[in-house]
């Protein structure tokens, strides 16, 4: 099927630089690559590895503020880095196409899908408008979009994320290009949606024999999609090999460490004592936004015990973050009770006493928006200490330093920094420190690792685990990532459509017999095995039959 002898695309010592603070700094530092006709190459690496830049470079394109600084890109005999604008422009759509990470943001909101689909098909004179539309509908059908006749006549915002991603793949296919660049096409999707999109993409690429570069940070995904994998780090190739070889026997230390990420697991804890009073408890909580007809939370009851982690898991819109908001008093329940150490907790944070506010603290998903960019670390961490615990002067400074030590940041170095002077993982650590600074009983961790690279995320999980032991904290751990749940949870709550589908000790939830939704969720998590996708799909077909 693959013909690697006559490469469609080659990169020789490709170098790309980006402008940062008035200096040109290398982003891609001499990458060599060769892609045969019909071949799918997976590019994998953490953020900052330069994988998107290489992907775009394959189209002869660099973003504003970047430039080709060396090397060559040959596409079917055409050298792209030095080609004039029209040459490069004319290749796009017709011969090279691109599928972006966020389809919702990458479709023009002002036009209907089908018009965007047919735009260049018609402009380049490949088809008449009518033919183009027919063809689009055919592609929609092949990509298993619902209502293929009609869906193209919707605006982007009227179509769900997974469908948009398939529509974008269809658009990339419109001119039947020789090469498609997939830039993290499923990263923003829920796992149950992701599996469908992955299947659709793989089928159509196979069907048309299109070459593809598949960019992702997710090993399990790339294992399903790629014939060959290239691992990137800091703009350089770490190693490249056939998928099977790469998975079975990575050569480089870095690759091995990537492969090993999922090894962390918190220690097993004894079951909760029957007479133990939960630190915080939700009893039949139902919540509703004033402007909405139906409740967003329906009869939710969860208990949080000191020293234990309750993982709340579900897809977007399942109500897991809303539960946290109700708990914080930001969305007062319309029904049900919240208890703090067995005593009722006011529904609204405005009515809570300082002690009550102190007891429940939150760590946010996006450290960027959770930390005031104009406050120094000293103030960010110090304020809750002053506010709740009345610490001042030297005592305060010492406490801050101790806490920084606790979160494994060198106090002297970090105490006076601004959030913008920290890396993503460091910011998240400050977020943790701020929650701890208050001296809480329950810490809500809302998707705290989702935005982080795997290695960094693991560090955060280890830190949280350590702190839990040290401070006997109760955690509410909100996540959509099953592997994180496996790693850190003591109890698991599975939510869907604002309701609890299933809850119980981790071992119970993750072992058969499965509740159907939990089963769907679990089985949709990609596995490293290249045959996983085929297997799951086959299993599902069998089940539904």
């Amino acid at each position: 099927m693959t013909d690697t002898n006559t490469p469609l695309l080659t990169m020789q010592n490709l170098q790309i630089e980006g402008l940062s603070e008035d200096c040109w700094k290398p982003i891609v530092k001499g990458v060599n690559l060769s892609l045969g006709k019909g071949e799918v190459l997976g590019l994998i690496g953490e953020s900052g590895a330069g994988k998107s830049t290489i992907g775009l470079g394959a189209m002869g394109y660099v973003r504003d503020g970047c430039r080709f600084s060396g090397g060559r890109v040959h596409f079917d005999g055409i050298e792209l880095t030095g080609a004039d604008r029209d040459t490069r422009r004319n290749l796009r759509s017709t011969r090279i196409a691109y599928v972006a990470q966020s389809a919702a943001a990458s479709f023009n909101p002002a036009f209907k899908l089908i018009n965007q689909h047919t735009e260049f098909l018609v402009r380049r004179g490949l088809m008449s408008r009518e033919e183009a539309r027919k063809d689009a509908i055919e592609l929609y059908r092949q990509l298993q979009l619902p209502n293929p006749e009609e869906i193209g006549f919707r605006y982007p915002h009227q179509v769900s994320g997974g469908q948009l991603q398939r529509a974008m793949t269809a658009m990339a296919m419109a001119c039947r290009p020789d090469l498609i660049i997939f830039d993290e096409p499923t990263t923003a999707l829920d796992v149950t949606t992701q599996i469908e999109v992955l299947a659709a993409i793989r089928n159509i690429v196979e069907e048309f024999g299109t070459s593809a570069i598949y960019i992702t940070h997710d090993l399990a995904v790339v294992a399903q999609m790629a014939d060959r994998i290239m691992v990137l780090r800091h703009g350089e190739e770490v190693e490249a090999a056939d998928t099977a070889t790469m998975l079975a026997a990575p050569q480089q230390e870095y690759t091995k460490s990537l492969w090993a990420v999922r090894s962390f697991k918190s220690a097993e804890k004894a079951p909760v004592a029957a007479d133990s009073v939960p630190v915080v408890a939700l009893r039949g909580v139902t919540a509703q936004y004033p402007s909405m007809q139906t409740p967003v939370l329906n009869d939710v009851s969860i208990e949080f015990h000191a020293g234990r982690t309750v993982a709340v898991v579900g897809e977007s819109g399942s109500g897991k973050s809303t539960t946290a908001r109700s708990l914080m008093g930001l969305l007062p329940p319309v029904q049900g009770d919240m208890l703090l150490n067995g005593a009722p907790l006011s529904p609204s944070f405005r009515k809570r006493s300082k002690d009550e506010l102190q007891a429940v603290q939150m760590i946010y998903q996006m450290a960027d928006t959770a930390l005031n960019p104009k406050q120094r670390i000293h103030d960010i961490i110090g304020r809750p200490m002053t506010y709740y615990r009345g610490l001042k002067g030297r005592q305060l400074t010492e406490e801050i330093r101790a806490l920084l030590d606790d979160i494994e940041l060198e106090p002297d170095q970090y105490i006076n920094r601004l959030p913008s002077e920290l890396s993503g993982g460091q910011k998240q650590r400050i977020g943790i420190a701020r929650a701890l600074a208050a001296g809480p009983k329950l810490v809500i961790c809302d998707e705290v690792t989702s935005a982080l690279d795997q290695l960094v995320a693991e560090g955060i999980l280890r830190l949280l685990d350590k702190l839990q032991h040290e401070h006997n904290l109760a955690y509410m751990f909100i996540t959509h990532d099953i592997s994180t749940v496996r790693a850190i949870a003591d109890e698991v709550v599975v939510m869907q459509h604002g309701k609890i589908v299933e809850q119980g000790p981790k071992a119970q939830i993750f072992s058969p017999p499965f509740q159907p939704y939990t089963d769907l969720l679990l089985s949709s998590v990609p596995e490293m095995d290249p045959s996983w996708l085929n297997r799951v799909l086959a299993e599902r077909v069998a089940k539904s039959a």
Binding site: L19, D22, D64, G65, M328, G329, L330, F349, R352, K354, L357, M362, Y364, M366, T369, A370, L371, N372, P373, K374, Q375, R383, P384, Y387, Y388, R434, A438
Partner: protein, 275 residues
């Protein structure tokens, strides 16, 4: 400060030009009595004398030295415009932050009140209020500040609305922080950059409004020198091909251009666009 100078050295030519002009104006305004060859409203000769070594820019319609009045005009016009803009920003920002943080009826009330003021033509409203309170410098500053505070309110509110949805503001609210603390510590530092840029623009508008009012005879009252009324008083000369009366107008234009250049540069930097 060093950081600023460093930034300035890398700034585009237009921004450098803007800074030089603004500094020059400020110096002239501060040292007006030292720099001016004559008294502010001293009659030194016949009206409309041509440029000469004694009267660099000739004399005005009453025989006062134009150059002297230009210099004093810088002081009056800029000083008043600056003070007015500052008051407008203080009042407008506080109200805007207030509305953004509290939302609900406070926001509704303030916003609707601002709608009312904004929908009355600026010059007419100023005219009415200035006739009521008399065309003194104090009421001029008060009235223009009130009118411009409404524009500032809208901007400050919009900026603050973008900030209050940030998690760190929510964190502060949930921590139990008071309104004043949230406005001062969480919102103000983050709203400052766009507001500062807006300050530059609004300063220009205030400046133009005041000179417009002076032109209509309602702004800074004679015999105080003011660029707007200087144009009006001497406008007849233009008919005769003498463009001296346009010098004060050009001075207004130059300053606003300069401020705009600086603002543009700051906005450019703030937006993170490539230079």
């Amino acid at each position: 400060m060093n950081g600023f100078l460093y930034e300035l050295r890398k700034a585009p030519l237009t921004a450098k030009f803007g800074c030089v002009v603004v500094v020059a104006y400020i110096l002239v305004a501060i040292f007006a009595p030292v720099l001016a060859p004559f008294g502010e409203s001293e009659v030194v000769g016949y009206e409309y004398q041509p440029w000469s070594t004694d009267n660099w820019l000739g004399t005005d319609s009453l025989g006062r030295d134009m150059a002297t009045r230009m210099i004093y005009g810088a002081r009056n016009t800029i000083g008043i415009a600056l003070l007015t803009t500052m008051i407008a920003f203080l009042a407008g920002s506080i109200a805007g932050f207030f509305a953004a943080v509290l939302q609900g009826w406070v926001d509704q009330l303030l916003s609707r009140a601002v709608d009312v003021v904004i929908s009355i033509p600026t010059l007419i409203f100023a005219l009415l209020l200035l006739t009521i309170f008399g065309a003194s410098v104090t009421s001029l500053i008060g009235v223009i500040a009130l009118i411009y505070a409404t524009f500032v309110y809208r901007i400050a509110r919009a900026v603050a609305m973008g900030i209050v949805v940030m998690d760190y503001v929510e964190a502060a609210q949930v921590r139990g922080e008071g309104l004043w603390w949230i406005m001062r510590k969480e919102i103000l530092p983050n709203a400052a950059p766009p507001l500062v840029a807006e300050f530059g623009l609004r300063f220009c508008f205030v400046f133009l409004t005041i000179s417009g009012l002076s032109f209509l005879g309602l702004g800074i009252q004679p015999p105080a020198a003011d660029w707007g009324s200087m144009v009006r008083e001497n406008a007849s000369l233009i008919t005769f091909g003498d463009l001296t009366p346009l010098i004060p107008a050009a001075a207004i234009g130059l300053l606003t251009v300069a401020v705009n250049f600086i603002v543009d540069w700051m906005l450019h930097k703030a937006s993170g666009l490539k230079t």
